[in-house]
């Protein structure tokens, strides 16, 4: 007999580490995600009893996979519709009725991730499916993280699974010609988990911290599975470098702190070093994209001794490269902030005013907020106040609202 706590700990650990592997391998046999999920869940429940009786196996993932796949095959045999079900996810030549050799279970996690992030699915469905199927997060927890009701989230997941089956979204890794575009969708989903975790307007801190951990876990998994993709390295670097500053983003009262006001001594140096190393490795390949470039910008901020002593000219050059591969007005707006540190607020204001004509930035509260800060630096308080009020009218996050209100207040009482 193995100690009960020890077994529970081993099962929880295997849930966190091995869920994606077990589910992906089971989906290949089960032919649909609903059956696969059910069998994987049953396998984890079975592990509690079996591991207490026989001890924790050397390779818990292999044990869970074998158990879940056996359950799936049993169900399929019982249903007597094996032949009708298998074609949904399986390529015909892989049809097999024998229990597969445990050692030979292929790593299907990439298939699973690319299927969850297929462009035929809506972005919010991609995010929900990735958390549910790749990370094994419960529907209730996903609903809480994204501030929707549990039935709404459950319906979203069900709808997405139904589309995968009905439209025959294939269970495979895209071929190399389509890989860059398809990989970008995967990276976007992972990055979205981090930004949601960082800026969720409400929800408990625990749920948000969990999302950030999931994003990091997914990025590390992707890097292990696709070590030759510099953008995967870039994404992990960006997540690490963003997260290294997490503790200093707000003050003790939960108020938002600007980068220039953050306590740099409290940044997580080990994490920054790891992120920096990954950036260098990604740039060494000579094939950097928007994640590696954003990570490079983040690393310059992380390494700078102070806001003023940051390598702003280099940051402007990186933003130029970023705009080249990702012509987004939001990137151009961030570039304008860097320009203000190199060429002064006047030059930056001209750029921001040009960007204000872009309909894609209408309703984006950072634009008037940045404009306000530039006008303040130019000593034009009346116009700055007007811009802060314009930003306040657009903001929907409490921490941001408090921050803007404070900025406005300090402006009118010199």
């Amino acid at each position: 007999m193995t100690d009960r706590d020890e077994v529970e700990h081993a099962v929880a650990d295997a849930h966190r580490r091995e869920w994606a592997f077990v589910l992906a391998a089971t989906a290949r046999v089960a032919g649909d995600f609903d059956l696969a999920e059910e069998c994987v869940q049953e396998a984890y429940v079975a592990a509690l009893g079996a591991w207490a009786r026989d001890g924790v196996p050397d390779r818990p993932g292999a044990w869970l996979t074998a158990t879940a796949r056996r359950k799936a095959l049993d169900v399929l045999r019982r249903r007597q519709v094996l032949r009708a079900k298998l074609p949904l996810l399986l390529e015909p030549d892989e049809t097999e009725f024998e229990m597969p050799d445990e050692v030979a279970v292929p790593d299907d996690r990439l298939r699973l991730i690319f299927t969850c992030c297929h462009p035929a699915l809506a972005r919010d469905a991609q995010v929900a499916l990735t958390l549910r199927l790749v990370c094994g997060v419960s529907t209730g927890d996903i609903a809480r993280a994204f501030l929707v009701s549990e039935p709404t989230m459950a319906a979203r997941v069900t709808r997405a699974k139904k589309k995968i089956a009905a439209a025959r979204i294939p269970y495979r890794v895209p071929e190399s010609a389509e890989l860059p575009e398809r990989l970008d969708a995967v990276l976007t989903v992972v990055h979205l988990l981090l930004t949601t975790g960082h800026t969720a307007p409400s929800g408990t801190d625990l749920v948000r911290a969990d999302l950030v951990d999931r994003a990091l876990h997914l990025a590390r998994m992707l890097l292990a599975l696709m070590p030759d993709e510099p953008e995967v390295r870039g994404l992990l670097a960006l997540l690490l470098l963003t997260n290294a500053r997490r503790a200093t983003r707000t003050d003790s009262q939960g108020r938002l702190l600007r980068l220039e006001d953050q306590d740099r001594s409290a940044w997580d140096r080990a994490t920054i070093d790891e992120g920096r190393r990954l950036v260098v490795e990604a740039f060494r390949t000579g094939r950097v994209g928007r994640y590696a470039l954003q990570a490079a910008i983040a690393s310059l901020h992380a390494l700078a001794p102070s806001y003023d002593a940051t390598d702003w000219p280099q940051i402007v050059r990186l933003y130029d490269a970023l705009l080249g591969c990702w012509p987004s007005p939001v990137v151009a707006l961030n570039r304008a902030v860097a320009v203000s540190m190199v060429d002064g607020p006047e030059a930056a204001l001209t750029e921001v005013d040009t960007l204000a004509q872009d309909p894609r930035l209408a309703g984006y509260h950072y634009l008037p907020a940045i404009r306000a800060d530039l006008l303040r630096r130019l000593d034009r308080p009346a116009e700055a106040a007007e811009a802060y009020r314009a930003a306040l009218a657009l903001v929907d996050n409490d921490a941001e609202r408090t921050h803007l209100t404070t900025r406005l207040a300090t402006l009118s009482t010199p």
Partner: protein
Amino acid sequence: MAQYAVLIYSPAPADPMDLTPDYIALLERYPAQVAELGGQIVTGFALQPSITATAVRGDLVTDGPFIEAKEVVAGFFVLEAPDLDVALKIAKLNPATIHGGVEVRPLFVPPAE
């Protein structure tokens, strides 16, 4: 193989008699491209221009297509393809995507049970 309806949307009124020689040349190449990508067109139709359409809502009969829009359904075909990725590759090559677009929708198959 799965079957998909591919709905062709073109700028209204989508008159097939107005198709340019260039467009017709692209259409003529299409079946061979479909086959090359591993699909097959089971059946397909072009429609008369949308000014010939009549919509029925409950008891109300009105002139025009059911949904008024810049682009209207100009035709459709039933495509057989191994999976959605192949179906989408085939759909992307359809000349309708140049000025309009296409919708790919799996055909409903009644469940076995």
